[in-house]
């Protein structure tokens, strides 16, 4: 294992300390409770929004704390859900009197830990709501699985919903919009290489020189099938086909598109994928109204990418375009 670390046990804490020093104008880091909180939180009369999950997906979620997005993030150990104490501390830190929303990716551990924290907050009389993201079409049969995983849509949802909360929406309104974004979004990913969890010290799985994993999750958990490596155009087609089938996009509709790197793929390759995506969608008379290309929800050092599409309407577009200022996303402000 070759990594820029000091000690596998200190990875999360040292990275959090670094983030605090790099972005003192945007966030504060509470190392004792292991949470990243928006500067000046809680914001009075604004719905507080928190998210969290295992570390190793940077910039998600800590990089999305700030104006117009999250009020706090709870990073767990690498690829491990945070614990209820963290979410409870974050909930206290961001409760501005208008309720708190938990954005939870659909993984067994995340769901259970957030559930326990919500039970505790609820017992204290804090108004709490949770929205679960589950956009990964790679998981086909939800009756016999833990259900679709939460992946790329989570980032887009955090931005859109964050903009809405900033504009003064109530907790119920924020929840309704969050559900809408999740319902309108789908993702699919692939890996060219495995990733290496620092504490494990060796790759999570092995992929041959001429192999790729289609339907990979963001934890290096193997996907649905392993196939022969092809080119960027073919891979883009493979990823986009189940998304289009599932979303049932019609001629003339417009989407928000995320071409996301898994952490170990250079941006130049992601733009090649975006080029192919644009061409495929154009052929189906679907327009990409807004796009994001880069590393936004990663799996440590894994090479590969994922594609996310969200069907857009005026409401979603408005809050996607709303100003945002966080360590990893900034526009309009």
């Amino acid at each position: 294992m070759k990594k820029l670390i000091n000690n596998p046990d200190d990875v999360v804490k040292e990275a959090m300390a670094g983030m605090a020093l790099a972005h003192p104008d945007l966030i504060t880091v509470d190392l004792e409770n292991q949470i990243i909180v928006r500067k000046n939180a809680p914001i009075r009369d604004k719905v507080g929004i928190i998210s969290g999950g295992g570390s190793g997906h940077e910039p998600m979620h800590g990089g999305y704390v700030g104006y117009g997005m999250l009020d706090a993030a709870c990073p767990g150990a690498v690829f491990t859900s945070p614990v209820p104490d963290q979410m409870l501390a974050a909930t206290h830190a961001v409760n501005g009197g208008k309720g708190v929303l938990h954005i939870v990716k659909n993984y067994t551990g995340d769901v259970m830990n957030f559930e326990m924290s919500a039970e505790l907050a609820d017992a204290e009389g804090i108004q709490i709501a949770s929205v679960i993201t589950n956009d990964d079409v790679a998981v086909q049969d939800s009756l016999y699985t833990a259900g679709r995983r939460g992946v790329g849509v989570t980032v887009l949802l955090e931005k859109i919903v964050g903009g809405y909360a900033e504009a003064g929406a109530s907790l119920d309104q924020v929840v309704a919009l969050a559900r809408k974004v999740n319902d309108h979004g789908r993702s699919m990913g692939m890996a060219l290489t495995s990733c290496t969890v620092p504490a494990a010290g060796k790759p999570t799985f092995e992929l041959g020189e001429n192999e790729m994993e289609i339907g990979i999750g963001i934890h290096g958990e193997p996907g649905r099938r392993r196939t022969k490596l092809t080119n960027a155009d073919d891979i883009t087609e493979t990823l986009i086909t189940p998304i289009l089938e599932d979303l049932q996009l019609k001629n003339g509709e417009s989407v928000l598109a995320l071409v996301n790197g898994m952490g170990g793929t250079p941006l130049i390759e992601l733009y090649i994928v975006y080029n192919a995506l644009q061409r495929i969608l154009k052929g189906k008379a679907i327009s990409i109204a807004r796009s994001l290309v880069g590393n936004y929800i990663t799996a440590l050092d894994m090479a590969g990418c994922s594609i996310t599409l969200v069907r857009l309407d005026d409401e979603l577009l408005k809050y996607w375009d709303a100003p945002v200022h966080t360590p990893a996303l900034r526009w309009g402000r």
């Binding site: 295992g54 690829f79 859900s81 104490d85 993984y107 551990g109 259970m112 833990a146 494990a200 958990e221």
Partner: protein
């Protein structure tokens, strides 16, 4: 001889050692069908538990088990934290006021833990999870109890039941947790959660044998 507070304390300490020794093994099992962290997380959790229990000399059985549960919830994360945490919490509630545990108390303790895991995980047996070690262990204990076995024999029967159950997970298709994303490809791999559950029961048997 009934199980004493000292036995329970020894069990928790021994569990920490066993999980530490099997950290790499459990993580390797988890690499195959999960996300390669089960051993790491359980080891971290039980280290925290034992640090906490070291400062609680006067604690009774129920308090030891409850503290183990809350500490696991607060330190493990993932799915194992809430599941093992809930199991120990419920075990603690089920043993409230007990100074020692007879065979029936021990079975009650594990049945409470089992119900807690089922409720928290919304899971049943046969889904390739820790329940597939715990449920057959309890069944084996009940059979041994019906056959007038001693407490030590009952615990041995639990270990044997957990072993059979754990090995049976190899042929199962996972339908819960991260392994479920693999579908059919999860077949052929032993479940790490069932394995850690079996190890914990083995540790209990060793603690009781020692006493």
């Amino acid at each position: 001889m009934p199980v004493t507070t000292g036995d329970i304390r020894d069990w928790i300490q021994r569990s920490g050692q066993v999980l530490h020794e099997n950290n790499a093994y459990l993580t390797q099992l988890d690499s195959a069908i999960g996300d390669a962290d089960h051993g790491i997380n359980m080891d971290r959790g039980f280290q925290a538990v034992n640090k906490k229990l070291a400062g609680m000399e006067e604690a009774d059985i129920s308090t030891l088990l409850k503290t183990t549960g809350t500490t696991l919830v607060s330190t493990v994360g993932g799915a194992s934290g809430p599941l093992y945490g809930t199991a120990f919490l419920r075990a603690g509630v089920a043993t409230a006021g007990k100074q020692t545990l007879e065979s029936a108390d021990l079975i009650t303790l594990f049945e409470a833990a089992l119900e807690g895991v089922k409720a928290r995980g919304k899971a049943q047996t046969g889904e390739k999870t820790m329940l597939d070690a715990l449920a057959p262990a309890i069944e084996a204990a009940k059979q041994a109890q019906a056959a007038q076995a001693s407490l030590a024999q009952i615990v041995q029967a639990m270990v044997a039941g957990a072993e059979v159950g754990t090995k049976a997970t190899i042929e199962m298709t996972a339908t819960k947790g991260r392994a479920s994303y693999l579908g059919e490809r999860s077949v052929g791999h032993q479940d790490p959660g069932a394995t850690s559950c079996w190890l914990l029961l083995q540790a209990l048997a060793d603690s009781i044998k020692q006493a």
